[in-house]
């Protein structure tokens, strides 16, 4: 038990801090469309050239092969550099945190050598085609269908809530390849080239005024069988590895950034006029108490994140305990932005971008934190059943 960084980790921190001071973009991230894609990919390219892409990816796949502590240090330094955008709110998220890591574990040599360098270098955008209109929390009931025709799969059906599909080159796509098998046994995980004929994409505007949500329709879309990752009908197992990265490090950036957000909010509360119209917001008892609690809770979130890393270092794989961190983080993130709106007074009437240092845009976006990647109800089920061993009941 110790809080010390090794000399190597300390040097890594210095290196990250110096590099970020020189390379962090200062302009705001365009909110949408091609300009957003170009911004995100340019940043990924800059990261790659600086040696900061795939920090915890194995070296043989172009990553730096560093440990999760170093990954956390990188996120901490990124947050400290006061960036005009958040790390996870990027169309490179799925490639870096889902698609890439899944290929590393389950892909063929050809799949790895073709896709992994492109992801790291910032050449391509990946999106995640899991959810469907009839299959959200119950992902295993998905019905987007694929039949084998020669050496191709022919896909028909629909996906929804596919973030960044409209700017994506590839998609991690879940399809039902055996409708007669039990629901988790007939699914395949395939790489779908988004330029394939028969794909139609419609954008959906979110409550936070962003258009990066999409519906994707598949009409006789032909995908080579060689794009299946793992075996045909073994997609659920592959998916579980994909989702285990979410439990591990995928949301660490958000968790680390939240600590900086709370410190910023404390500063804000010192300069904003409080609810009595006279004294600063921080002089108000209720606001001061909520700020204190937020500060204590983000500290505990960090401790939890470190405990999670320590656990993974012992067992090798992120365990279901990560769902407690997800649950706590999602709700805490929302409480922080709800408090933000209570502190900024009349400024709460002004809409700000979802990215950046405003409060109203991120507040609207905060609703996603208890829905995306498994709702908090589902996280509670996972904690109850897989961490605590409570019975599963139909």
């Amino acid at each position: 038990m110790n809080l010390d960084f090794t000399p190597e980790e300390q040097a890594f921190r210095e290196e990250a801090r110096t590099w970020l001071a020189e390379h962090l973009p200062t302009e705001e991230r365009p909110p949408d469309g091609q300009p957003m894609r170009e911004f995100d990919l340019a940043w990924q390219k800059t990261l790659f050239e600086g040696g900061w892409a795939g920090i915890n990816w194995p070296k043989e796949y172009g990553g730096r092969g560093l440990n999760d502590i170093q990954q956390m240090i990188w996120y901490e330094e990124f947050a400290r550099a006061d960036p005009p955008f958040t790390l996870n709110n990027s169309c490179t998220f799925v490639g870096n945190n889902h698609g890439g890591p899944t290929l590393i574990v389950s892909g063929t040599d050809e799949q790895k050598s073709f896709h992994l360098p492109k992801i790291l270098q910032g050449d391509v955008v990946w999106c995640q085609g899991f959810s469907e209109p009839g299959a959200g929390s119950d992902l295993g009931s998905l019905s987007c269908k694929a039949v084998i025709d020669g050496d191709e799969l022919v896909v028909n059906g629909q996906k929804i809530w596919t973030s960044y599909a409209h700017v994506a080159d590839f998609q991690e796509l879940l399809v039902r390849t055996d409708p007669s098998a039990p629901k988790h046994k007939g699914i395949s995980w395939v790489i779908c080239d988004m330029t394939t004929p028969g794909i139609e994409i419609r954008e959906i505007t979110t409550m936070s005024h962003v258009n990066d949500f999409c519906e994707v329709f598949y009409d006789d879309v032909r995908i080579p069988l060689s794009n299946v990752v793992g075996q045909v009908n073994d997609g659920w197992r592959v998916t579980m590895t994909t989702l285990s990265f979410e439990r591990g490090t995928a949301f660490m950036a958000d968790q680390v950034e939240l600590a900086a957000v709370v410190e910023r909010l404390i500063e804000e509360a010192k300069v904003r006029t409080g609810p009595d119209g006279k004294r600063p917001a921080i002089a108000d008892d209720e606001i001061a108490r909520r700020l204190s609690l937020a500060r204590a809770e983000v500290a505990a979130l960090k401790a939890m994140t470190i405990a999670g890393i320590s656990r993974t270092q012992r067992t090798g794989v992120p365990g279901p305990e990560g769902s407690m961190t997800r649950l706590f983080h999602g709700e805490l993130h929302q409480r922080v932005y709800q408090l933000g709106l209570d502190i900024i007074g009349p400024e709460a009437l002004r809409l700000t971008p979802v990215d950046g240092n405003g409060w109203t845009g991120p507040y609207l976006q905060s609703f996603a934190y208890t829905i995306g990647g498994g709702t908090t109800d589902i996280q509670r089920n996972i904690v109850g059943e897989r961490v605590l061993g409570l019975p599963r009941v139909k």
């Binding site: 038990m1 809080l3 502590i69 320590s310 109850g384 599963r392």
Partner: protein, 323 residues
Amino acid sequence: MDLLPTPEQEEIVTSIASVIAGNHTTGEPLTDALWEAAAAQGWFGLGLEEALGGVGYSLAEEVLLFTELGRAAVPGPFLATVLASRLAAEAGEADLTQQLISGSDRVGLAERWDDDRFSVLDADGATMALIVDGERVTLVDLGGVALDSIPSFDTLVPVSLAIDLHESPALATAPDGPALLRRGALLSAALLAGIAKATTDQSVCYGIDREQFGQPVGGFQAVKHRCADMATRAEVAACQVLYAALAERDGRPDAEFHVHAARVVAARAAVENSQINVQNHGGIGFTWEHTAHRYVTRSRVYASVLGTTHTHLGATLAATAPQ
């Protein structure tokens, strides 16, 4: 960086838990056997340097000890006695330190009740009291002090009132009161984190054992989700208590902040979990016989010593920002 107990620390926890299990039943008063075993195991000087007569472990191991004491709802003056032995050692009172480590004396915990009076917890059978008065912490002899016992909210934690206690001659005074109080606050947070965990475990066991409508009640989502929230609060508390212990042990500049934060999240976790634990047990949870109510009252006691959630929250905001 590593926040989980080492194999050696895990062994310490196992041995502490087995000493407690062998000498104590949750819901029962402290036994002499446990007190003597605690002394024999060196618990009263667990975190004290060997040069000062202690076992030579650190605050991290003390936190593990107090988490176990909280978990099993062990009553008795452990907190004040451990703080007293450190106070004596830091004040250079070697004989007194030895005496306290040997377990021959029990130390009550005295804090301001109102302008004239102090409350003393666990004064029954105690020969000394640790008096906390603002930032000043002293150890006094209880012999000859008039104690007026009141009905106690937690029947296993006797409460007495004493007038002019601070006028009793001090056996020793803490050279660094605030540091000792931080330590005490953190150990109380560990007790609370233990309660948060124990109540989660009770609810989970009952959720698996108890059947209604032909199925274990823990399968009902309302119960399951309450248990998941309990587990999460307990985990949040445990992680922050460990982090704070290491920060304080290593003298980090943000240690004070982390101790306050630990006490805040642990108190909230213990109080909420112990309350919901009663609900999860239905009628049996409301009985005197069941131990659920022990955690309800014990969590309130620990959350009211060495500061309150309110004062620790305020200090969380005032402290140096976390690094």
